[in-house]
């Protein structure tokens, strides 16, 4: 009896366990796997083979082997191990295959790209697997728009940040303008001669703007979209409206304030506020001071130096006379000595208006009270 019972229990237990497994545990495991597998899969694809041994890669890639493309290009696949190990990714111990997904074994999958550029364009999206925020930022920038339109010569991640020797932007060895200058060479040439570029390159001055300070890093804006021109004074004002920063260099901190009180600046502000999608023919900072080649106003080559101002004015006012540039107060407030006549006009009204209006108000009030009194008395 006992044996039977025991035997029965022994026989029945596997059956129960089987039923339990089939009905509960396996479905639970399957459900859990199905729910987590996408994450596991994405983690796998994002981080690649974490266990891959980079040393294995460097057995070959420390040599100067080349990858030949049908275009005739022969591109070295040598990777400087020291440079990689000291890079931001190398320091974190990322495996080569994190980015070079699929190259887990040798021979590697056959490259089907016709040329090296196609190869680079095929590979760069791997960056966005980890850098998702930047993916959103670059989405509509001119480079990506141009790339989508079929232009392969636009910059993608690796063109700016490098490939195997990526450093933090704050620790980059070369100034940002040199990076942009790789493609925008003429602009960079102008920039490096400008008051900003000369300070950055010549003095290593971190206060001056470089390309990304005005155009942004990933969400790049530029002159191809007209709001950039319209709103560009706000970009300049980020620094030139900073009193502490401007005082450090003895620069007038009121340039924005004086600009918007003048006809040009006022109109631009109006457009910014109610018609930001429209062009205006009123100049912004860069139209007078220069775009990338702006110089200090004391520089003899500056477009806003007094001797050169007429030429600058004539860009928009072709018939401007020699007296015309003096109509611009050169960012001086009316109270300052150079523009004293304007101050006199202002002061005249500051006196006249309170005296006249005050006197009139006094008269009106007293007259009203007098009339009231007269009416109460019956006329």
């Amino acid at each position: 009896m006992a044996i039977k019972r025991k035997g029965g229990s022994i026989l029945i237990r596997p059956v129960k366990m089987g039923v339990l497994c089939i009905c509960v545990i396996y479905p639970a495991i399957a459900l859990a796997l199905s729910l987590t597998s996408p994450y596991l899969q994405s983690a796998q694809s994002a981080w690649g083979q974490e266990t891959a041994n980079n040393d294995k890669c460097f057995e070959c890639h420390s040599h100067d082997f080349a990858l030949d493309f049908p275009s005739g290009e022969s591109v070295s696949v040598h990777v400087d191990k020291e440079a990689y190990d000291s890079s931001v990714h190398g320091q974190k111990g990322f495996a080569c295959t994190t980015c070079h997904v699929g190259n887990y074994e040798y021979p590697h999958p056959i490259q089907t790209e016709v040329n090296y550029r196609d190869f680079a364009l095929k590979l760069y999206p791997v960056c966005t697997q980890c850098h998702e925020e930047q993916l959103e930022e670059i989405e509509n920038n001119p480079h990506m728009v141009s790339l989508a339109a079929g232009n392969p010569r636009v910059a993608v991640c690796t063109d700016c940040h490098g490939k195997h020797n990526i450093q933090k932007v704050s620790e980059a060895k070369s100034p940002i303008n040199r990076t942009c200058g790789k493609c925008h060479g003429e602009i960079n040439e102008l920039y490096e001669k400008s008051v900003h570029g000369a300070a950055l390159i010549g003095e290593g001055n971190p206060d001056v703007p470089t390309c990304t300070d005005c155009h942004g890093a990933h969400h790049i804006t530029g002159p191809s979209n007209s709001p950039f021109h319209l709103f560009s004074p706000q970009i300049c004002a980020k620094c030139h409206g900073d009193t502490a920063l401007m005082n450090k260099y003895g620069i007038n901190p009121n340039v924005m304030e004086t600009y918007v009180t003048d006809f040009h600046g006022k109109t631009v502000m109006i457009f910014e506020t109610i018609a930001s999608d429209q062009e205006t023919n009123k100049p912004v900072c860069i139209d007078c001071h220069g775009v990338h080649d702006m110089l200090a106003p004391t520089d003899t080559h500056s477009s806003v130096m007094k001797e050169n101002l007429l030429v600058t004015c004539r860009k928009c006012h072709p018939e401007a006379s020699a007296n015309f540039p003096d109509s611009w107060l050169s960012h001086y407030s009316p109270g300052e000595a150079r523009v004293r006549p304007v101050f006199f006009v202002q002061a005249f009204y500051w006196i006249l208006i309170p005296v006249l209006i005050g006197g009139a108000a006094l008269y009106v009030i007293s007259d009203y009270l007098r009339q009231l009194k007269a009416i109460r008395r019956g006329g």
């Binding site: 010569r153 040199r178 200058g181 790789k182 493609c183 925008h184 060479g185 003429e186 602009i187 040439e189 102008l190 490096e192 006022k266 109109t267 502000m269 109006i270 457009f271 506020t273 109610i274 062009e279 023919n281 860069i286 139209d287 775009v291 990338h292 080649d293 860009k315 928009c316 006012h317 072709p318 018939e319 401007a320 006379s321 007296n323 015309f324 540039p325 003096d326 109509s327 107060l329 009316p334 523009v339 304007v342 006009v345 202002q346 009204y349 006249l352 208006i353 006249l356 209006i357 009139a360 108000a361 008269y363 009106v364 007293s366 007259d367 009203y368 009270l369 007098r370 009194k373 006329g379």
Partner: protein, 612 residues
């Protein structure tokens, strides 16, 4: 009842003119205010209502013009009344007005019960009228200046533009405030209040109260000045044509002046004419930004005076900073320009022929990425025209150094500097006494100074004997230009034999047999046979294992020890005399990089000793 008491103070034309003026003024104030302080909600609402700041300005200018026309009309009306109707202009201020002002204040403050006895245009109206005249003049003049800044600055200093702008704005504020306070109170609020309260008698009384003299005029005299026939005739014959003519001219002038100036262009020009995409111009990168337009002194080299620039002293620096950014690391279009020989071999530079050198055409081509060489073009041109020298040499010596030969130029240098050591088999088995022995030494490589050991060793420094800078230069050029002998082959062979003969005589040994004999003596044959058998029986294995790694087929230093024949021909052993055999002495000195073991060296020594 009331009607009989009513009288017309202002003619219909006055009232129409007044309301036109009022409307123009109101819209001018609104449009002006929205321009003056544009970023507050009211201004923005006004601007949007008008369809933008552009429309606001157009409307403002049109109404300003209407305002101006009304001024003309008012002037006409006043002059008509003054000169045709002969009505006295009671709005003209006089000293009694000052008295009336004080009187008014005193009355209002209950200091007196006597009111000022102003006429038709009582004191308040007079102030308002003259305020309006003053403001109109200011606004029209300043408005014209602002509207036509270029025309204005043709005659006036530039500062009048901001002065006019300031005055225009402040004057507008003054006028608006004055009208809002003065006009609205006295001519609107006050009388309206009485009308609303249905107290017209009070209004009438008020009118008498406010305009006592006018009321007296009206009721007592009815017609102050009758319209005479002469006045009507004068009006039609003289006044009206004259007025129309003058005002017509003024109107035409005004229309012209508000339209004649095109102050600015309508569309901004591109502030910067630059190629947005311009990959890596030569001036774009870090190193290239300092590429010199004028050759810095430190690049010119030791022969800075009257010197033709050379690759070593100048051109390589320029090329390395300008060209190799692409044509080295990236090897663009298969051109690598990082060395002199590669530049010349590329065919881009044809020494002495600048016009046939594509290099010059390329670097001056603005479309070429690394173009724009500015002042450097002349440097490149001169360099190529002068033969594209790899190193510098003093100008004036070009002819001399362009035809260097062993006999004429090199032998004296060798004799003076080298052969004291490098003769016979001494010092590295280098014999620089003759042309052939020098060539045999493997110390020079035709046309390639960079790969010639002789120059490399001296240039590295540390060699006991050094050439002068000019000596080195001559050697360099001699090798580069083909290391010519300046002799016929027979003369060169004679030179060689003569030196060998001299050596034999001085050492009292037989000179080497004539190359053509080829017959050994019986003793020599026996010894050689003996040495050959020993070599074959195992000694050769010592050489094979210990020496041929370097001195095998590669023949380092020109020494080939891979076979019996080559060992015997090499001269490093003197059969029968190990002490004079360079191979033994070199091993014994310990200075050779690789040494034979003691037993192997003994075997070799014995082998040589038994070779007599």
């Amino acid at each position: 009842m009331y009607k009989s008491l009513m009288f017309v103070r202002f003619a219909l034309s006055d009232r129409i003119g007044h309301w036109i003026l009022a409307m123009a003024f109101l819209v001018l104030a609104l449009t002006g205010f929205s321009q003056m302080v544009p970023l507050n909600p009211v201004s923005l609402w006004i601007m949007n209502a008008f369809g933008g700041v552009g429309n606001i300005r157009i409307v403002h200018h049109i109404l300003g013009f209407i305002f101006f026309v009304m001024m003309l009309y008012s002037i006409g009306a006043v002059t008509y009344r003054a000169f045709i109707r002969r009505i006295s202009i009671k709005a003209v201020p006089d000293f009694s007005d000052i008295r009336d002002i004080f009187q008014s204040y005193k009355y209002n403050f209950n200091l007196t019960n006597e009111k000022p006895s102003a006429g038709r245009v009582e004191l308040t109206g007079k102030v308002l009228l003259w305020g309006l005249i003053w403001s109109s003049v200011i606004m029209v003049i300043s408005g014209f200046i602002i509207l036509n800044p270029i025309a204005a600055t043709n005659l006036l200093p530039g500062i009048v533009i901001p002065m006019a702008k300031t005055a225009h704005g402040y004057e507008a504020v003054l006028v608006v405030l004055a009208l809002a306070l003065w006009h609205a109170y006295f001519l609107l609020m006050k009388q309206l209040a009485f009308l609303i309260n249905n107290k017209f008698p009070e209004a009438r009384k008020s009118r008498r109260f406010d305009h006592p003299l006018e009321t007296v005029d009206w009721f007592d005299k009815r017609e102050i000045v009758p319209v005479t026939q002469q006045a009507i005739e004068t009006y039609w014959r003289y006044y009206l044509p004259g007025y129309l003519l003058v005002s017509g001219f003024i109107m035409m002038g005004a229309i012209y002046f508000v339209n004649f100036e095109k102050t600015s262009i309508l569309t901004l020009i591109n502030p910067e004419d630059v190629n947005i995409y311009a990959p890596e111009t030569m001036l774009a990168s870090a190193d290239l930004s300092t590429a010199p337009d004028v050759i810095p002194e430190h690049l010119v080299g030791p022969y800075s005076v009257d010197t033709i620039h050379s690759w070593d002293t100048c051109i390589n620096t320029l090329v390395l900073t300008q060209c190799t950014k692409c044509h080295e690391t990236e090897n663009v279009i298969g051109v690598n320009l990082n060395t002199y020989s590669r530049l010349v071999e590329s065919g881009l530079v044809v020494p002495g022929e600048p016009d046939n050198s594509p290099f010059l055409e390329i670097v001056s081509d603005a479309d070429h990425v690394g173009g724009h060489v500015n002042g450097l073009y002349a440097v490149y041109y001169d360099w190529i025209a002068s033969g594209a020298p790899e190193i510098s040499y003093p100008a004036g010596l070009i002819e001399k150094y362009s035809n260097l030969t062993w006999k004429k130029d090199i032998l004296p240098i060798m004799t003076r500097n080298c052969v004291e050591c490098h003769c016979s088999s001494n010092y590295g088995y280098l014999d620089f006494r003759t042309y052939y022995s020098t060539l045999d030494s493997d110390s020079i490589r035709f046309s390639s100074p960079d790969e010639s050991k002789m120059l490399n060793i001296i240039e590295e420094g540390g060699h006991p004997g050094l050439l002068s800078a000019e000596g080195l230069l001559i050697m360099h050029e001699w090798i580069r230009t083909g290391a010519r002998s300046g002799m016929t082959p027979d003369e060169a062979a004679d030179e060689y034999r003569a030196v060998q003969l001299e050596e034999c005589v001085s050492k009292k040994i037989e000179p080497p047999a004539a190359p053509t004999s080829g017959v050994l003596t019986s003793e020599e044959s026996a010894a050689a046979s003996d040495m050959k058998s020993i070599w074959d029986s195992g000694l050769g294995a010592i050489f094979q294992a210990g020496c041929t790694g370097c001195h095998g087929a590669g023949a380092m230093g020109g020494l080939n020890l891979s076979s019996y024949e080559s060992v015997m021909a090499s001269g490093v052993i003197v059969p029968g005399d190990p002490a004079k055999s360079l191979l033994v002495t070199k091993m014994e000195s310990g200075s050779h990089p690789a040494l034979l073991s003691a037993s192997d060296l003994d075997a070799v020594r014995n082998w040589i000793a038994g070779g007599v």
